[in-house]
Structures are given as structure tokens and as C-alpha cells.
């Protein structure tokens, strides 16, 4: 994160005058940032956010149980949705790569449609429509199925891009030794595509994990919902801010853990590909390293 070199395209190696100027700006910037932090801390202090009564409750087993139950519900929804989305993505990527028009077109239509609809609206479909017909779906499944449709469509595009990015000679060689299309896809293209796309796939799963927080809006009892209950208690002086800070820390550490796993994988695959031709990133994804849009 901070270890990257200063942009060499914009800045020359500083001479004595630039060094002096940089040092001055550094001092001013540090003071400004410290001032900002101090203002926030004072605001917290002045409104009693650091009072022991607001923080002591996190030592209580009952509160910890509540948080863990929320975390478990979040992870359960994320796990189910991740598995289903991977399956959905694989099926629709295969449909879009098919030689048959009657598979390709519906596949494209579904993937394009679900990527264009806001995820919350997809979740509402699963929540409100069964309700209208008197067969309500549990909030867990409304959330999981909504997440599946959206993230599955995004994953389908990632898989497809990965398959298309494998060098053409690979499939040509496989056809030349007499493999059928299904064999070329599963034995030749897919292993290579998964390998080069793994970091992107994991970043999409991080997005999926974060999006489970939308379950809060349809009252699925996940982590944020637990936070609202814990934060709304008069006995502990409405500790909304401490609770949200704890929850943010939980989300951030889980996501960072997953992201660093993705980075480690990326480094490993890059190293082992040195002898062969490095897989070129597919055109759609090449322009946005590390930023899978939310």
C-alpha cells in the first residue's frame, strides 16, 4: 500500500529545493491530518463516546454472543451465496461461450439484465413477490438468492473473460490432437482461466461478503442488525458509535484477510508463469486492476 515508489511519470527525483519544499508540505499536511483526527476525537470526547459505560458492555458474554450470532448469520449468507453464485457463474459463462445461438443469447440476456438491476431491487423481488402469493421466503433466502443472481452474473463475465484470455494456440493445439469442444473447455481452457482469474474471483467474493449487509434492510438478523440492537440500548447510553466501530473492524479485518490471500495467490501465479507466456488480462478487466466496482 505505502511501499510503492513515487510516481516517476509525474515527479522527477527531487533536487535540494524540491526536497525543502516537500518537507514543508509534509509538515503542513501532517499538521492538517492530525488536526482533523484531533477534531474527531474531541467531538467523540465532548459527546461522551469514550465513556466506560458505552464500551464496557463488549466484555459481557451476552453482548459477545449477540455479535457472534450476527457474524455467523453474515458468514452463513455469504457462504451460501458464494457457492450458488460460483455455480450460476460457471453455467452462464458456459452458455455465453456456447456455439449454439439458442444458448448464447438467453445467457447473455440474463447476465446483462441482472448486472443492470440494483442488487437491493433483486433482493426485493425475492422478498416481496413470494409474499404477494402468500408463500413468504425467509429473509435469509431472499438475501442469498438476490446475491446469487447479481454476483453470479458478474462472475459469469469474469469466467468468460478468463477463458477468452487463454492464448489461442492452447485451444488450437488441443483441437489438433483431436479433443472435442467439451474436453478443450474443461481440460485445457478452464484450469488456465481459473488460475489467472483467481484474484479477481476472490475480490468479487469480498464484494459479495460486504453486500450481505444489505440484509439489514430486509431485517435479516446479520451483523449490522445485531449492531442496531446493541446500539439502541438506553442502559448503555445508546452506544451506536462504539458498536459500529467494532463492526467495521470485523468487516475490515475479514475483507483484508481475503484480499491478502488473493494478493498472495496473484504473486504465486505470476512467479510460476514466468517460463510460459504470461496470461494477458482480458480487455474489460485490464483497465481496472484491484478495483472491482461495488
Amino acid at each position: 500500500m505505502e511501499g510503492e515508489p513515487v510516481s516517476a511519470v509525474l515527479y522527477d527525483v527531487p533536487g535540494p529545493r524540491a526536497r525543502l519544499r516537500n518537507r514543508l508540505i509534509s509538515i503542513v499536511a501532517t499538521l492538517l491530518i492530525l488536526g482533523l483526527v484531533a477534531y474527531v476525537l474531541r467531538r467523540f470526547e465532548a459527546t461522551g463516546q469514550f465513556e466506560a459505560v458505552k464500551w464496557r458492555q463488549f466484555r459481557l458474554p451476552s453482548i459477545q454472543r449477540e455479535l457472534f450470532a450476527g457474524l455467523r448469520a453474515t458468514l452463513k449468507a455469504a457462504g451460501l451465496a458464494a457457492v450458488l453464485a460460483l455455480v450460476f457463474g460457471a453455467v452462464f459463462a458456459a452458455a455465453r461461450l456456447s456455439d449454439h445461438r439458442f444458448l448464447r443469447w438467453p445467457g447473455s440476456a440474463v447476465v446483462e439484465l441482472f448486472r443492470a438491476i440494483p442488487l437491493l431491487i433483486l433482493i426485493f423481488y425475492w422478498y416481496y413477490v413470494p409474499l404477494q402469493y402468500g408463500e413468504p421466503l425467509s429473509t435469509l433466502w431472499a438475501l442469498v438468492l438476490g446475491l446469487t443472481l447479481y454476483n453470479g452474473s458478474v462472475l459469469a463475465e469474469i469466467f468468460r473473460a478468463g477463458m477468452l484470455s487463454v492464448a489461442k494456440g492452447q485451444s488450437e493445439a488441443a483441437y489438433a490432437i483431436g479433443m472435442r469442444k467439451s474436453q478443450v473447455m474443461t481440460l485445457i481452457l478452464m484450469p488456465q482461466a481459473v488460475r489467472s482469474m483467481l484474484p479477481t474471483i476472490i475480490s468479487q467474493l469480498v464484494v459479495l461478503l460486504k453486500d450481505t449487509a444489505l440484509g439489514f434492510i430486509i431485517t435479516y438478523p446479520e451483523l449490522l442488525d445485531a449492531g442496531k440492537r446493541i446500539g439502541g440500548r438506553l442502559t448503555y447510553g445508546f452506544p451506536y458509535l462504539p458498536t459500529y466501530m467494532v463492526i467495521a473492524a470485523i468487516y475490515i479485518s475479514i475483507c483484508l484477510l481475503l484480499s491478502s490471500a488473493a494478493n498472495a495467490l496473484e504473486r504465486r501465479t505470476r512467479r510460476s508463469h514466468k517460463t510460459t507466456a504470461a496470461p494477458a488480462p482480458p480487455p474489460e478487466l485490464a483497465a481496472q486492476p484491484g478495483t472491482v466496482p461495488p
Binding site: M1, E2, V6, S7, A8, V9, L10, Y11, D12, P14, N22, S26, A29, T30, I33, R43, F44, T47, Q49, A116, I117, P118, L119, L120, I121, F124, Y125, Y128, V129, Q132, K210, D211, T212, A213, L214, F216, I217, L224, G227, K228, G231, F238, Y240, L241, Y244, I247, A248, Y251, I252, C255, L256, P283, E284, A287, Q288, P289, G290, T291, P293, P294
Partner: protein, 218 residues
């Protein structure tokens, strides 16, 4: 079918107000996140360590926090600091804080796609920093920045629906209202979907056109 149309015509003002609020949220949040995201990117590529660390920490923290949590923080948490902001403004700020982290990363990686030799050559013929930036780096970075930036804005447009859970009457809040009025939900949701498809379409098609035009020219 008559029922399907009736849901829209009977509740016209609700749909119109809802989508107008969505567009307003999107306009305010996108303009401000482009500005703040670009500033963050400038910090992250600058030679000032304090600014680089600040930008890096901001992006890492915000990108790994769910948008819904930022909304909850703004709506339930911030009033506890005795700072009172309207629901609409809270929604704008939550969207701004979240999306600018993604804008920052797009701009930064766009700048990094420009070959280092370009800047060196420009300085060698005596260009000033402003000239290097405006004449050499930005025009080249622009092509790498705009297509992914459009998808970030597309995501922002869809993310405005999250405000529905936090007392802002935008398009995503319409189902809850109509559910109280006892309307059927399927037609409501289909109308909202159509509304979003209409709003998303110009963004997606601009992106397609730009990607096609600039493919291979880099």
C-alpha cells in the same frame, strides 16, 4: 396487464418523486466523489509521505467496509455526536465517502499506465510540472481511466437504492411504500427495474462505445 399499468398511473407522483430523488442523489454524489476521489488519487501518487499514507489508509478502510454500514454510521451514529444532518444529506455523504475510494483507485491506476519515459522525455525538453500533467500524462491516462470510471458511476447509481433503508424516499423505497398501500409488488418491482434500465442504459452504452474506440490505440 391493466393491473400492471394501473400500479404506475395510480401512484404516479410516488414513482416520479422517487426517481427524481434517485437522480438527484446520483448527481450530487457523483460530482462530489469525482472531485474527492481525484484529490485522493493525487495524494496517493504525491511525493509527500503523510498524504500517501492518508490516501492509502482511507482507501483500504473504506473499500473494505460495507456501504450499508457507512449509511448506518451516518444515520444512527453521527447524530450521537450532536451533529444533525438531514437524511438526504447523510445519504449523499455516505455515497460520497464510499465511491470516492473506488474513483481514487481508478484514477491512480490510470496514471500508472502511462509509461515513465513519457514524463522523463517531457521534462527533458523543459516542460513544467503543470505542462507534463496537462499535456502529456492526463491525455494518455484519460483513456485508461474513463471506461472503468463509468462502471464505478454505474455502481454508484445502483447503490443509491441503499438509501431506501435509511429514510430517503428514492426509487428503492417505493416497494415499501406501495406495500403499505396494499399494492401488488410484482408490477411495482418491474416498473422500478424498467426505470433503472432506462437510467443505466446511457452509462453502459457510453462505456461500450469508448472501449471499442480506444481498444488497441493504447
Amino acid at each position: 396487464m391493466g393491473d400492471f399499468l394501473r400500479v404506475l398511473t395510480d401512484n404516479r407522483s410516488l414513482f416520479v418523486d422517487g426517481f427524481l430523488t434517485t437522480v438527484k442523489l446520483f448527481a450530487i454524489a457523483s460530482a462530489s466523489c469525482l472531485l474527492w476521489g481525484t484529490l485522493l488519487a493525487a495524494m496517493r501518487v504525491s511525493p509527500i509521505p503523510a498524504l500517501r499514507v492518508f490516501g492509502g489508509v482511507y482507501v483500504q478502510l473504506v473499500r473494505n467496509t460495507p456501504l450499508t454500514l457507512l449509511f448506518a454510521f451516518m444515520v444512527f451514529g453521527v447524530p450521537k455526536l450532536e451533529i444533525n444532518i438531514s437524511f438526504f444529506r447523510s445519504a449523499c455523504i455516505a455515497l460520497l465517502v464510499y465511491t470516492s475510494a473506488f474513483v481514487c483507485e481508478v484514477v491512480r491506476s490510470g496514471i500508472n499506465t502511462v509509461d515513465q519515459g513519457q514524463g522523463e522525455a517531457a521534462r527533458a525538453i523543459g516542460m513544467t510540472f503543470i505542462q507534463v500533467l496537462a499535456l502529456i500524462v492526463l491525455p494518455q491516462a484519460f483513456r485508461a481511466i474513463v471506461p472503468p470510471l463509468v462502471s464505478v458511476l454505474n455502481a454508484l447509481l445502483k447503490n443509491t437504492t441503499v438509501a431506501a433503508g435509511f429514510s430517503v424516499l428514492e426509487a428503492g423505497a417505493i416497494p415499501a411504500y406501495l406495500s403499505e398501500r396494499g399494492e401488488k409488488q410484482t408490477p411495482t418491482l418491474i416498473w422500478i427495474t424498467i426505470g433503472f434500465l432506462v437510467l443505466v442504459f446511457p452509462l453502459v452504452s457510453t462505456q461500450r462505445v469508448l472501449e471499442r474506440r480506444w481498444r488497441g490505440s493504447r
